[in-house]
């Protein structure tokens, strides 16, 4: 940023001293970033240390299997892969139905390592992809926040993101899921957008489209970007902040981004056909109209301009009405109004539970409870409001984007617990801004008291504390030159504003300690969450009893048995939860899996599961099933077994086959 330069130029006697200090600050922040990266990586290794280097959960097993295929057969085979091991007898076109970003990323890493003769297995690469990308994500957060509020806020936000439990829950070593790389892509796209907005450089705009393309490759959540950025553009236009920079930041993104997005097979023509993308096109039209109006305004006299406005508005309204009518007719003709089920359940939280039990049956699609906010973003929840206030002082294009981002992500996280993940970076950015600004104020007041060179001692003292604290003191340091010169009065309206300036330094110091304690306590919580709450791979269960640790490895026992002792073409039926794991670990054909693209097929299995033995046998026989995998946790007290899921089998089966009625399976109906 150019700000420190100007302030130092005003004091020529201190010039050399300050360049040295700037250089020192640059090196220091580089090392702090490096440490943040190391921390982000290593805090996610608890699962490897406590359990083993293994792929977690359900979806990661599918991604792992796809990556194995990619590593073995190459990219062209991958695009054309028709998988006959799943959804028997239908099969699934994998190449055209997956978001390939994660797979391609890990596949590329694996290929690169192997071409350097570093013989790591595909599994190892997959396990460590998520921690590596969370380090990248925290660096991207630094860049984004730096664009918004300067280096100090950037470092603080990066440190917070590196250990925010919500993100850890999705990116521990082994949780090889789309979100692992998508969060990095999301933040990086936002960073490039803000960077373009700040610089007006077409270079960054192009990079932005490429980053957006990577995001589209990686995760269905890209629709969040393609709706949030238009919203921000619209906000800027409405608040009279239209500029050529805004145009450059937006127009190339829509054109290039949409073209690139359409290249991804799973998106394809959806990039121009589904309602999720319409907002961006609408805003694209609006921004052109606005740009045109500004242009006309520039070349016409005010009087002529008024005449032109009335003319255009009257004609334009008529045309717009016609276009909108056609659009509405088109959209209304499709049963879901052009929206996919998951998107609709975002807009209307009750939609899924009413119409699509299969979406509602997934626990991560449920709305979160209050404790989960505290669990997942912890102390950030309290810092976010302060951060939002800080964003308004002064409000810039970039900070308004952050405000919009946090506002929308809070809403989405309230709908679906899974989207807490989108909230986490926003919360980190705002909290980083809040903490950094508060520090600016307090250290500023100390500096006023102790004039001269005494500020060094304070830096030394702080450096001995943890890396979090370190990054914050550094934040303070790098911000200082700018801070002391100006802007002070405008930032006063923080909640602790009254203490500032005239207050004695002791009080400011005490306040600073209190403020330091906040992220420190939260880091204790984060480490706990990383170690205890989010590191279980869920295929290996452990329980502690009086005689030591017990390991339940029954899932893999069953899969290994299937793998070695059944014929390679045997079909295994199970509830869809275990589909991905069965294909990946047992290498056997399954009837349904976690992809849940065919509701009828799942309902068939649900019906078979909830039918009497004879009827079930007939259904399974018609599907060539030779083995049925059921999970029973009654003996050891494992709660999430098939009995627990049984009502969903009944509900989903009953949704398609009306002879399955839920009340028949409830106790009250027997009485």
């Amino acid at each position: 940023m150019a700000a420190p330069e100007t302030s130092t130029a005003a004091v020529p006697t201190l010039y050399t001293n300050n360049t040295l200090r700037n250089a020192f600050g640059g090196v220091l922040s580089f090392f702090i970033l490096l440490l943040i990266g190391v921390m982000a990586f290593s805090i996610r290794l608890f699962s490897v240390i406590k359990y083993e280097s293994v792929i977690h959960e359900f979806d990661p097993y599918f991604n792992y299997r796809v990556t194995q295929f990619l590593a073995k057969n190459g990219i062209y085979e991958f695009w054309n892969w028709f998988d006959d091991r799943t959804w028997y007898p239908l099969g699934r076109v994998i190449g055209g139905t997956v978001y390939p970003g994660l797979t391609l990323t890990a596949g590329t890493i694996w290929w690169l390592l192997n071409s350097l003769n570093i013989p790591l297995s595909v599994e190892t690469v997959c396990v460590f992809t998520a921690p590596i990308f969370s380090a990248f994500a925290s660096w991207a957060t630094y860049l984004l926040t730096k664009e918004v509020k300067g280096t100090g806020a950037g470092l603080t936000a990066a440190a917070l993101l590196a250990m925010v439990p919500s993100y850890i829950s999705r990116s521990v070593a082994g949780s090889y899921d789309n979100e692992a790389v998508a969060i990095f892509a999301l933040i990086f796209t936002f960073y490039l957008y803000i960077k373009t907005l700040n610089t007006g450089s077409l270079f960054y705009a192009t990079l932005n489209s490429i980053a957006y393309f990577y995001m589209v490759c990686s995760w269905g959540g890209y629709t969040f970007i393609i709706n949030l950025i238009p919203m921000h553009v619209l906000l800027c236009i409405v608040t009279g902040r239209f500029s050529s920079r805004l145009y450059i930041a937006y127009a190339p993104l829509v054109v290039l981004g949409t073209l690139l997005a359409a290249l991804v097979p799973v998106v394809g023509f959806n990039a121009v056909m589904t309602s999720e993308h319409f907002a961006s096109f609408l805003v694209f039209i609006i921004i052109h109209v606005v740009a045109f109006v500004y242009y006309i305004k520039g070349i016409l006299s005010p009087k002529m301009f008024k005449v032109a406005v009335t003319l255009v508005v009257s004609v334009g309204l008529a045309v717009c009405c016609a276009v909108i009518a056609v659009l509405i007719a088109l959209v209304a003709s499709s049963p879901t109004k052009g929206w996919s089920g998951r998107s609709l359940s975002l807009l209307d939280p009750t939609y899924a539970s009413k119409y699509i039990p299969i979406i509602a049956s997934v626990s991560e699609h449920q709305p979160p409870t209050w404790p989960s906010y505290f669990m997942d973003i912890n102390v950030l929840a309290f810092l976010v409001p302060a951060g939002i206030i800080a964003c308004f002082l002064p409000l810039s294009d970039a900070s308004s984007f952050v405000v919009l981002y946090i506002a929308t992500s809070v809403y989405f996280s309230g709908v679906m617990v899974r989207l807490m993940l989108v909230l986490a970076p926003a919360a980190c950015i705002t909290s980083g801004i809040a903490l950094s600004q508060a520090f600016d104020v307090f250290t500023g007041s100390i500096k006023f008291q102790l004039t001269g060179a005494s500020s060094n001692t304070e830096v030394d003292a702080a450096e001995t504390s943890s890396s979090t604290a370190e990054s914050q003191t550094d934040a303070v340091k790098t911000e200082k030159p700018e801070e002391t010169a100006k802007n002070r009065p405008s930032r006063k309206s923080k909640k602790k504003e009254r203490e500032h300036g005239e207050k004695p330094s002791t009080e400011a110091k005490a306040e600073k300690k209190r403020l330091l304690a906040l992220p420190l306590e939260s880091s204790v919580h984060c480490v706990w969450a990383a170690a205890e709450a989010y590191s279980a791979p869920s295929i290996v269960l452990t329980s502690r009893s009086h005689d030591g640790l017990h390991v339940f490895d029954d899932f893999r026992e069953a899969y290994a048995w299937l793998r070695h002792n059944t014929d390679v073409d045997d079909k295994v039926a199970s509830w869809w939860d275990y589909g991905y794991q069965t294909t990946a670990m047992a290498n056997r054909t399954v009837i349904v899996d976690n992809n849940t693209w065919n509701n009828t097929h799942i309902a068939t299995v649900g019906t078979a599961m909830s039918s009497p033995e004879r009827a079930a046998w007939e259904i399974f026989h018609s599907l060539d099933v030779k083995y049925v995998l059921v999970v029973f946790g009654g003996l050891v007290g494992y709660p999430s077994d098939d009995i627990n899921k049984f009502l969903w089998m009944v509900r989903i089966g009953g949704g398609v086959f009306p002879h399955i009625k839920e009340p028949d399976y409830l106790v009250s109906s027997l009485c």
Binding site: V54, I118, D553, Y559, H564
Partner: protein, 467 residues
């Protein structure tokens, strides 16, 4: 019982034809066996046969070769044949191992297979000597019934001859067969024969001409698990930084009576004595002492059910497969461990180095159908040669490991049908210059150096078009 009867008839025919076939080889005729005792141990699935032969030279010329003959069905399952001779007078006896080689005779009756024992000192005319022969048979017990349920115990057939098949005239012979338990369903009687406890005695039989054969069939209970490793690949990687990394890939199968019906884990665990008596619950691997970083896993991750016990002389790794193996069930897994290099790598006087390591499978009481031992020599080593105490197939490969440029030479040795008796040492000799150890660190260092130079250069070069 139809099949065994037919087999008995067939064997009877063989006996008949053998009795009339007279060996024409003159070198055989002048030896005779004055007394033979055979002890067959059937207590595990590896059949151990101890044969004590008192050989007498009845001819006029001294000879140093003694022939052993086996029926072709047994010869296929023969894992190893060893011959020992006792030296010295009473109390100070020592056993001396004799050379044994497979031999082809042109006119072998009924495809009998031969092994020649080479005596240390030629047997002069009229002299006699006592030879101890030990041979092991694999896959020689046939489960019958071929399929059993979880709660049943495993019954097997063992086929042999009551008379020792020999190209020589045997004056007197006795056979003792030890069964694993007293539960013997039936056995062929060839008088005089009787059974007492776990032992069946055939003989003594007097004066039987060469190639006498009398088939017997024993049907008995054998609940020892038939642990067979179908394929084992052992990779021994030498690092001159002080470590020897061993990786062993197993394909394990239970070769006993096939499992029939359901498997109930609850029954299996609550009544272990009545259920799955023949199932394979655990295996014991005997590893070298000072073993470290032991892992036991398969393609889907770590297998948590293993215990390692170490002391100064040996290490024992007790491993359980993911699921108990019943007859016909398979499992694959990998065991890996590191060993201190100085225990296994030595230097010869002519500046060559050699690795001294065990050849066979470290699992106890296990048959290995096919074993591949790969010794990965460090990058830059030359002139590899392997010395193995028994015949193996050998060839060389190249393997690329961490940051290799030219690749590492791999000495590959293959052998079929192994038993624990093959766990003897083999040596791989090679030459290696210690300077090659520094190749990879130097490569890395220079790569980083170039990277930083490039960074410095980039920061000092102005690449913008417009000045």
């Amino acid at each position: 019982m139809e099949a065994p009867i037919r087999a008995r008839e067939a064997l009877g025919f063989i006996l008949f034809s053998l009795l009339f076939s007279i060996c024409r080889s003159s070198s055989l005729n002048h030896l005779l066996i004055s007394n033979a005792e055979r002890r067959i141990d059937l207590s595990s699935h590896i059949v151990k046969v101890y044969l004590t032969l008192k050989v007498e030279n009845a001819g006029s010329t001294p000879t140093s070769e003694v022939l052993l003959s086996f029926p072709p069905t047994q010869a296929d399952h023969l894992a190893t044949v060893e011959a020992l001779v006792t030296k010295g007078k009473r109390k100070k006896t020592t056993l001396v191992r004799l050379d044994v080689k497979a031999t082809e005779l042109p006119d072998a009756p009924n495809d009998a297979k031969y092994f020649t024992i080479y005596l240390a000192n030629p047997l002069k005319s009229g002299e006699s000597t006592t030879i101890e022969v030990l041979y092991l048979l694999t896959h020689s017990q046939e489960p019958f019934p071929a399929e059993i349920a979880q709660s049943e115990s495993q019954l097997v057939y063992y086929r042999d001859s009551a008379l020792i098949l020999s190209p020589y005239h045997i004056k007197q012979q006795t056979t003792f067969i030890k069964t694993p338990s007293t539960k013997v369903e039936s056995f062929t009687r060839v008088e005089p024969s009787n059974r007492a406890g776990t032992e069946i005695k055939y003989g003594p039989y007097e004066d039987h001409p060469p190639y006498s054969f009398s088939p017997i069939l024993i049907h008995f209970e054998n609940n020892s698990p038939f642990a067979v490793v179908e394929e084992l690949v052992r990779e021994v990687e030498i690092s001159h930084w002080g470590n020897l990394q061993v990786t062993e890939q197993y394909t394990l199968v239970h070769a006993g009576a096939r499992h029939k019906g359901v498997f109930s884990r609850v029954d299996y665990q609550s009544r272990p004595t009545l259920n799955g008596a023949s199932s394979l619950r655990y295996l014991l691997a005997r590893l070298p002492p000072r073993v470290h970083s032991v892992y036991y896993r398969d393609e889907i991750g770590n297998i948590s059910s293993s215990h390692l016990r170490t002391d100064s002389r040996k290490s024992e790794l007790e491993i359980e497969p993911r699921y108990p193996l019943f007859g016909g069930w398979k499992a694959t897994f990998v065991i890996g461990y590191g060993l201190p290099l100085q225990d296994f790598l030595f230097e010869t006087s002519d500046d060559r180095r050699y690795l001294n390591f065990t050849f066979g499978c470290p699992l106890l009481e296990t048959v290995v159908d096919k074993l591949t031992v790969k010794v990965v020599l460090p990058e830059g080593s030359k002139d590899p040669s392997a010395v193995v105490p028994f015949p193996v197939e050998q060839h060389l490969e190249t393997k690329y490991s961490y940051l290799d440029v030219v690749g590492r030479t791999v000495v590959v040795m293959e052998k079929k049908n192994l038993v624990p008796a093959h766990n003897s040492h083999f040596q791989v000799y090679y030459t290696f210059k210690p300077i090659f150890m520094l190749a990879e660190p130097l490569m890395l260092a220079s790569a980083f150096f170039l990277f930083f130079v490039a960074c410095v250069a980039y920061l000092h070069i102005d690449l913008s078009i417009r000045k």
